[in-house]
Subunit: 205 residues, 2 copies
DNA sequence: GATCGATCTTGACATCGTCTAGATCACACT
DNA sequence: AGTGTGATCTAGACGATGTCAAGATCGATC
């Protein structure tokens, strides 16, 4: 394999890899397409042939992110009890795992308008991630959220508590409040208990 | 008052006003300092004398945002029952009001690293907002979160559910799930019930 | 073995944030 | 009252950015 093949062979994935490294290093707000090209060892105009523009590249990167988000959730679910409630909690913990491991990618996926949400790969990946959440809630409640408004409200509530925890966590805003927490297991325990409050549904009060 | 005074008189606040308009129009990711200067009717170099750089301007803008966030919360609290739990709910609804009314400013405040969080005005304003939350929880639980870990956990949980709802709301991700919701009162009712689950603390399950 | 399309390079352009030097004005001091 | 001094704003420059257009290079196919 020549050191500098004119045709890279698999520049698309090389660019995605370089883009993620750049993203993790400098964040979405300092993201530079030219820096990505340089990191991949190609000229600044090369990416245009594989991704229409910077948004195209970032959209696909975000789409891959949703796939890995689901993987992180499923990974937790495999280790958890098969009880529907435990599965929901595990899914939430996986969501937090992913956010903590890939904070800038998480921001790109949820708090940026660079990705084109209507683009095929993004819509599909984000769609399956949401479908999984809906499925978990259906398993727990025994009713389809698309038919039962109460179940859909549970979807909204569950997503919101997990997403809120994730977003505040990666922005460092829970550092001080959670300063006491020592081990990771302790943190998981706290997060689980908080998510459980929402999962238990409307209180009797 | 001359049409074009060489010395503007109050350029600092004129720039903040122009910056907020630009922010609301194009979002933080397409924010341009030169566009702000043009909107304020001054040269592109003028802002530098009042704010060190773009981050300086955006930091102060975010700081003002926190003050208005608190105002929105207090406004809801005044209309609510004086019961501590109702006050917490009202504060959350004010948080949602603010996010929906100023989505891009909200993003700047919580999901951007442009603001310098250590800058005086930002730290102070954000600190007050957080202190209010801590105060509301203390009123409800009767114990100081800074001394009682259980109360601090309640702070984390309450902030997270409200913030998660707000962030997902302004990104449009709850549009489909909440499509059924008709009136604003209905939406408030749903949001209140969800927040109440977290406020009621650990379930008995 | 020539051709054609896909891939990549190179250079150009407008726009961006920031720096510097200079113009202009308000205000205080003599 | 006149002067100058500092604060305020303008104007031009620089490097960096995303995107576009034109050209060079390679692989595959006929």
């Amino acid at each position: 394999m020549p050191e500098h093949a004119y045709h890279h062979g698999d520049l698309a994935s090389a660019l995605l890899k370089a883009a993620e490294e750049e993203l993790a290093l400098h964040g979405i707000e300092a993201f530079s397409l030219r820096a990505v090209a340089k990191r991949a060892g190609v000229s600044h105009g090369a990416p245009a042939h594989h991704f229409k523009d910077a948004k195209g590249l970032l959209t696909t990167l975000a789409a891959r992110g949703y796939e890995r988000l689901v993987e992180a959730q499923v990974s937790r679910q495999r280790e958890a009890d098969e009880d529907p409630t435990a599965q929901c909690i595990a899914s939430g913990l996986g969501y937090l795992d992913f956010a903590r491991a890939n904070p800038e990618l998480f921001r790109l996926m949820f708090s940026s308008d660079k990705p084109r949400r209507s683009q095929d790969d993004f819509a599909r990946s984000a769609g399956t991630a949401f479908a999984n959440l809906v499925g978990d809630i259906r398993n727990k409640l025994g009713s389809d959220p698309y038919e039962d408004p109460v179940a859909m409200k549970q979807v909204v509530a569950s997503w919101s508590i997990v997403h809120g925890l994730a977003d505040l966590l990666i922005s460092g805003r829970l550092d001080a409040p959670l300063a006491v927490v020592g081990t990771e297991a302790e943190r998981d325990e706290i997060m689980s208990e908080i998510m459980l409050r929402v999962l238990e549904g409307p209180g009797r009060a």
